[in-house]
Structure formats: structure tokens, C-alpha cells
């Protein structure tokens, strides 16, 4: 086990995992918020599009999305996100992780919106706020607070799902694991180290989000 730690850049691989996680978390939060807004908008077409996004993306395996990005979009359609091979892989993986987890963020936010009593929106409209202002000033801030727990679960799932980037050659923790297995044969040690690494990454996330959801809960 010690050999693995000295001979391979385990820390570096987890730093890579962390980079995927942070960037895709931001990406999925942005896309997911947009989709959630579409799903609660008064415009039927937008609502339909939002629902379509969530159902299709949620029901498509992430692996498939990954492969689609590299095979379909990058090579066949020629949509390269970078000249550099590794950077292109990295960026596509981040995009697909974002797109995929955005569906879950949208659902988490929608459950958060459902924790906001209708009276809040009515009061917002009755003082003359437009639909957009009501969302920004009243509904979304409360929805985010009501959605902290499910958003935390999504972030933990995202952290673990970064391993899927490996199928297109991402050099994160799971990529390193397959390299080690290739070179050394399978060993419990390698699996344990990588698994432990993920626990170290996700455990604090879980604790932090539980704490946050209690601290920021909207008192009614």
C-alpha cells in the first residue's frame, strides 16, 4: 500500500477529482437554476422544455453522455473544446458532468421552491415586483435554503460520479486506479486507498451541508 502512495501521484489524482467536482458543481448549479426557473415559469413552452431536460438527462446514463461528448460531439461533429487532447477531454468531462447533475440540481431546487408557501409569491407580486424580481428576491433565496440538503446529496453524488470521466480518459482518481491495476494487477490496497480518498472528500461535504441546512433554514 505504501508503494502505491510513493510510486503514484495519488494526491495529484485527487486534486484532479476535486477540480472536476468544483467546476462541474458551479456549472450544474448555473444550468440547474436556469432549468428550475424554466420549470416554475408562467410560460408553458419553457415549463415543457424544463421538464423535458430533467426527464431526458436524468434517465440517460452518465457514461453514455460522456462517450457521446467525445465520440459524437468532439470527433464526429468536430466540436473540440481545446486543441490540446487532455484539455479537450477535461473540458468535455466537466461539461457533461455539469449537464447531467444540473437535472438533479433543478429537481432539488424545485423541491426547495415547494417549501416556499404561495403566500410569499403573492406578497411579492402584490408589492409590485415583476416575476423575475419575485424569483430573485423572494422565491429563490428561500428555495435554495430549503434545498440545501438535497443539493448536498447531489454534490456528493457528483464527487463520486467524476470517476465516470475515466471512460473518456480523464486522469482523476478512478483513472489512476485503472492505471495502477494495469501496472500492478488488482490489489485491495489500491482500491482501499482510492475509496478512502473519496470518503475523505465526501464526508466533510455531508457534514457541512447538514450543518448549513440547519443554520440557514428559513424560520416560519
Amino acid at each position: 500500500m505504501i508503494d502505491i502512495l510513493t510510486e503514484y501521484n495519488v494526491l495529484g489524482a485527487f486534486v484532479e477529482t476535486l477540480k472536476y467536482t468544483v467546476l462541474a458543481a458551479i456549472g450544474s448549479l448555473v444550468i440547474g437554476t436556469l432549468v428550475a426557473v424554466m420549470r416554475v415559469s408562467p410560460i408553458g413552452v419553457l415549463r415543457g422544455l424544463g421538464t423535458f431536460y430533467v426527464t431526458t438527462i436524468r434517465n440517460t446514463p452518465l457514461t453514455l453522455l460522456m462517450v457521446l461528448s467525445i465520440l459524437g460531439l468532439a470527433f464526429i461533429v468536430g466540436l473540440q473544446l481545446s486543441e490540446d487532447f487532455n484539455a479537450n477531454t477535461f473540458r468535455w468531462a466537466v461539461v457533461m458532468l455539469s449537464v447531467y447533475h444540473a437535472a438533479f440540481v433543478a429537481e432539488a431546487l424545485r423541491s426547495g421552491v415547494n417549501t416556499v408557501p404561495t403566500g410569499q409569491a403573492e406578497a411579492a407580486r402584490s408589492i409590485g415586483l415583476t416575476f423575475g424580481q419575485s424569483l430573485r428576491e423572494v422565491i429563490l433565496p428561500q428555495a435554495f435554503r430549503g434545498a440545501i440538503a438535497p443539493l448536498g446529496s447531489t454534490l456528493i453524488a457528483l464527487t463520486k460520479n467524476t470517476t465516470v470521466a475515466q471512460v473518456i480518459g480523464g486522469s482523476e482518481a478512478a483513472g489512476l486506479l485503472s492505471t495502477i491495476v494495469e501496472n500492478e494487477g488488482s490489489s485491495y490496497g489500491a482500491f482501499l486507498i482510492i475509496a478512502l480518498g473519496f470518503v475523505i472528500l465526501t464526508l466533510p461535504t455531508g457534514i457541512a451541508f447538514t450543518h448549513l441546512s440547519e443554520r440557514l433554514a428559513v424560520r416560519r
Binding site: G119, E122, S126, L129, Q133, E137, Q142
Partner: protein, 270 residues
Amino acid sequence: MSIDPESMSDSVIDPHLMVRYVPAMGEPLVVMSKVNKHFGDLHVLRDIDLEVGRGEVVILIGPSGSGKSTLCRTINRLETFESGSISIDGKPLPEEGKELAQLRADVGMVFQSFNLFAHKTILENVTLGPIKVRRQSKAEADKRARELLERVGVQAQASKYPAQLSGGQQQRVAIARSLAMSPKVMLFDEPTSALDPEMINEVLDVMVELARSGMTMIVVTHEMGFARKAANRVVFMSDGQIVEQAPPQEFFTTPKTDRAKDFLSKILTH
């Protein structure tokens, strides 16, 4: 303040208020004509005709389910309606969008369940509209908000959150929040029904003061003390229709229709 029943017919203004307020010339402030609304098969508003003059205080009264809340809510279009028209200060209600938001800013609304913004402080609750809708500076909005909070007697709570206040205090903040928009008319939908009995008067006192200051008000309430003290007219609704209207004294002592008599006998014996 004396209410002369003779002057109360139709949309004539309380003479006492005319001293300080420009009397309505021509159009009354709120005009509903032939308004109809359904919830599915239920005909909740039937050919509603109602005019409310500037500075007038109108009480909406009637059995539960008769459409009082719905009537109030159509006035600022929290509810849509199918036919008829509503205009405020001579302007017909816009269908939606920015114009509707603008109109709503001119129509204050106080809800039974207060509906203060739960994630904002009391001060922020009052300044949100002025800053976002009226484009006031934060300093200007803060100053006016503190004046209004003082007027309704909750200035000491400015930095607390709604859940930390009693129901009576929350409702007074809700009134201040509406007032901060300098509305032309204020709608109250059973503002004291969710309150513990000992808090009802602190809210009614604020409303009486508001009525005396000349605010145009449409109030759904069964508080007869308030009606007697502050109202110019009582409008009695039943089954989605306006059945009878009269000055408070007259309505409570000599109701004309059987439905009003029946209703009053029920609430008076309780």
C-alpha cells in the same frame, strides 16, 4: 368623526375626509363592472358591480365561501376573471407583465396570514418594494421604513426576522410594507382572523388610524367594531353576488334582505 348616512350612498365620500383630500372628480378610484369569475364549475363572482370612491372605506362581509377573498384578489389580479372590467384610478387592469406589476405597486394588499418575507428582516421587508419597484435609494427607503414602523408601533423590531414577532406585530409590519409603496388603495383580506384575541385591537387601531388619514380601503372583516368606527359602507356578499349595501349603522341595525338578516343573526349571537 361623524358618518352621515345620507352622504354614503353610491360613491360619495365621507365629508370629514373631503376637508383634507381632493374630492373625487368624475371617476371613483376603483370601478368593477359586471365582473364574473369561475373556479371550474363554481361561479364565484356573479356580475359584480362595485365602485369605491377616493378616501372611502368599504367593508366586505358575508358567509364563508361567498367570494369575498376572490373579489379582493381580482382587484390586483392575483386572480384572473373571465368577463367584465376593473379599473383603478381610471386605468383598466393590465393583463400581465411590467404594467400589471406597476399597477400592483399602487394597490396595497394585507393578507390574513401576513405573508412577510420569511428570509428578510422587518426593515428589509418594508424597504424591498420601495428599492426594487420605486427605485428609491437604500438610505431614503430605510428612513421612510423606520417612520412607518414607528407609525404602526414596531420600530423596536426593525432588525428581527418575521418568525421572531407576534402575529399582531407581523400584521402591523405587513401594513407598513404596503404603506411604503404609497398605494392609492389598500385591500385587507380578514387581517385579524389569524390573530389571538388580545392582538386584534392593536391591528384594528392601526387600520382605524389609516382610515382616518384618508386611505381608500376595502376590508374583508367581520369585526363590527371596526366597521362601525371606520367604515363608510358595508357591502354584503352571498353566493358570489353583492346582495345588499348600506352604511354600517343601517346595515347592522336594519338589514333589508333575508340573506343579510340570516347572516347577521348568526354572527351576532356568537
